[in-house]
Amino acid sequence: MTELARLHAITKSFGGVHALRGVDFDIRAGEVHALLGENGAGKSTLMRVLNGEFPPTSGEIVIGGKPVHLRDPHAAREHGIAVVHQELALAPDLSVAENIFLGELPGVIGWGALKARARGLIERLGFQIDPGAIVGTLAVAHQQVVEIAKALSRDVKIIVFDEPSAVLSAQDAGRLHRIIADLRGQGVGIVYISHRLEEIFKISDRMTVMKDGQNVGTVNNGDITIDELIRMMVGRPLSAMFPERGRRTIGQEVLRLDRINAGRMVQDVSLSVRAGEIVGLGGLVGSGRTEVARAIFGADRLDSGSIHINGKPVQLRTPVHAVKAGIGLVPEDRKLHGVILDKPIRVNATMARLSAVVNALGFLRQGLERKLVTELGQSLRLKASSIDAPVSSLSGGNQQKVVLAKWFHAGGDLIILDEPTRGVDVGAKTEIYALINKLAEDGKAVLVISSEHQELFGLCDRILVMGQGELKGELLPADYSEERLLALSMTGRTTAPAMGEAA
């Protein structure tokens, strides 16, 4: 097979953080090359280098045997490289035809010809979509088709699919696989990023596993089992970052979910968390973990099922009800949802229970508030110039401590933490872990969502594993291993099936 493109010893760093270290990767004509790895392993970054979005810090990009310099995605397009992004990069208010030819629209648009060309492209993919339809009104699967048609609108040699099936139903995924098989037959080189291992074994020719910004290895489909593949994806030393499991006493059940359903990403989830217990919610990004947290917190509506807090059934229609019921949420996106960046630490810290610092007439008791927040800051070892400093002046770790301070102040019984150490540097991580432990020692029920498996292993008394919106199983400390967790999330079994079965 002819080699279409080769990335040679690519390194990419962002201000001291190495996202890619000396990665080799090649794409041949007429093959499906799967790219695997955990969240943050560097897959998307590598593809952005190929697409000209990130210039590599060092290393060489060779296309058609000649080294090239890709200034921007437009230059990559000139070389026949197209990327179908994870988050669809479509303009929702424009029509299908406009989206497909966006970026190469002529000054004067001949609508008839444009629509005819769009129709032709879509039909080539085996779909019927009106080229005049507004993209925002289409189903996600059809939007995906538009995105692919856009990639095919010009001569294309390499197509990268970045987790295309994550948002698709099984049936739509099947159609996508047929499209990919067709393209492969036409000699196009395809890079396919996915977390669904069974799918990868079904459609790929070769597989490359990445981890911590490095290429762990490239293997041919048929030379490896799912078990071995998972082993390639994991395995890093367990660091001593985690607190000693303290003398926590496990108490009464605080939270119980009975077969709750909320949208497509929360299906029949039942679980319980007791006082003083830290329970992990694991699984890959997009497996429904965040959605479960949002449903508990009243941010999303329940379709069915019931929630009990401290043994009593509750209706949590909004976060107002949830906070009243004693639930706190440390959200995934700290800057957008966790803190008010331009407001002082003091204002942020008391927001979830203002009643404690307000008198009967609604006047703030600022002296009391200062005293409370100062004490809280000291006990959380918050590093700030003053409690009147805006949260935006703090480091990521200290911002997260402000969010934690908010829930320490609110004093609820259940704290849900969604990716508590995202964007937090290593030193501060240890402190956050200690604080999470402290929450549990104080007798709170704690539910931790994390994509960092070691974090879950280090913190949690048990881990509930999610995959595709369902609870797939539970791991106890004796069973903690990344292989088991990944296998459970992706296949619903702790022991991966033999290779033949999947293929």
């Binding site: 953080v17 996202a19 906070v323 203002l354 609604g362 006047f363 805006p390």
Partner: protein, 329 residues
């Protein structure tokens, strides 16, 4: 990946030039304007002229600016204040002249009507999440229409000169026009609510990051509703004052007043993106608008020309307020 890229941005605290400008920019504009006005005309700093400016501000943008500030702090906008002022003016005339109610009952009913208008806008904005620009634009039309219907397009005299009502609008207390005292009271109360109460704390926070406030378990829609009601009530107060001062209830008052009110708040340094703004600066903003009009009157600028200059001066004020901030970014 991305989270690793975005290293926590350590912003420099302290008193940089930008921070100073943000805090004292309005005051600087105000002082410069007073100096210019004093040099321009000897009449400017005379006591009658100052009182005149204050009274014009009080019956114009002043009182409504407090309500608008609260709305803008939540990242909203209320275009209906001028129309509600007119409705308030007409209803005052109607209740006094046609229904024969006493001052107290009349004022209460008019303020209720203003609050009801705000409630209408606020319900749609807070609970149905409709854009405040459009909803308050609708209320602008509705309230003006109601005022015209009730008055039949004609001014309603409040009765004999010297009655309780007219004496308030044109009367003095301690040598200061009574509407000006009322405006001071509204600003002082507004300042206390904004800085020392839960309500002020929450609405400022909503403007900065509504989702974070919501996820802290605070009933955000209730607060948003409240600011529109407050804005409506204060617009009705402005209506009562204007009818009291002129002695007639008229559907023609407050045409375009919303623009002056918004300009006063924004010249006062409040951000239309919410979360930033203060009562003292809003007061200065309203005074700046009043002084500019006053200077032009003293200088004998013809009325039609005044509007053009007013617009140009607002642009200059905005550049001074925000231009430097934008340049830094």
């Amino acid at each position: 990946m991305i989270s690793a890229v975005e290293a926590p941005a350590e912003r420099k605290g302290g008193t940089s030039f930008g921070v100073l400008l943000q805090r004292f920019g309005t005051l600087a504009i105000f002082i410069v304007l007073v100096i210019v006005a004093t040099l321009w005309s000897d009449a400017f700093l005379s006591r009658p002229n100052i009182l005149n400016v204050l009274r014009q501000v009080a019956t114009g943008a002043g009182i409504m600016a407090v309500g608008m500030l609260f709305v803008i702090l939540t990242r909203g906008i209320d275009l209906s204040v001028g129309s509600i002022q007119a409705l308030g003016s007409v209803l005052t005339g109607y209740f006094v002249a046609m229904s024969g109610y006493g001052p107290l009952v009349t004022i209460l009913l008019v303020l209720l009507a203003g609050g009801a208008c705000g409630l209408f806008t606020g319900l749609f904005v807070a609970y149905l999440r409709l854009p405040p620009f459009v909803m308050s634009l609708a209320m602008l039309a509705i309230a003006r229409g109601l005022a015209l219907i009730i008055s039949d397009g004609r001014p309603i005299p409040l009765g004999e000169p010297g009655s309780a009502f007219t004496s308030f609008g044109s009367g003095f207390l301690w040598g200061i026009p009574q509407p000006v005292l009322l405006m001071f009271l509204v600003f002082i109360l507004g300042g206390i609510v904004l800085n020392y109460t839960r309500f002020g704390r929450v609405i400022t926070a909503i403007g900065s990051n509504e989702e974070a406030v919501r996820l802290a378990g605070i009933p955000v829609p209730r607060y948003i509703l409240a600011v529109y009601v407050l804005s409506g009530v204060l617009a009705a107060v402005a209506g009562v004052i204007s009818s009291s001062r002129t002695g007639v209830g008229s559907a023609q008052v407050g045409v375009g007043a919303e623009l002056n009110v918004i300009a006063a708040v924004v010249i006062g340094g409040a951000s239309l993106m919410g979360g930033r703004g203060g009562v003292i600066n809003t007061f200065l903003g309203a005074l700046i608008m009043g002084i500019i009009a006053n200077i032009m009157n003293l200088a004998g600028v013809p009325g039609y020309h005044q509007q053009v200059y007013m617009g140009a001066i607002i642009v200059v004020a905005m550049l001074l307020q925000f231009g430097t901030g934008a340049l830094k970014r």
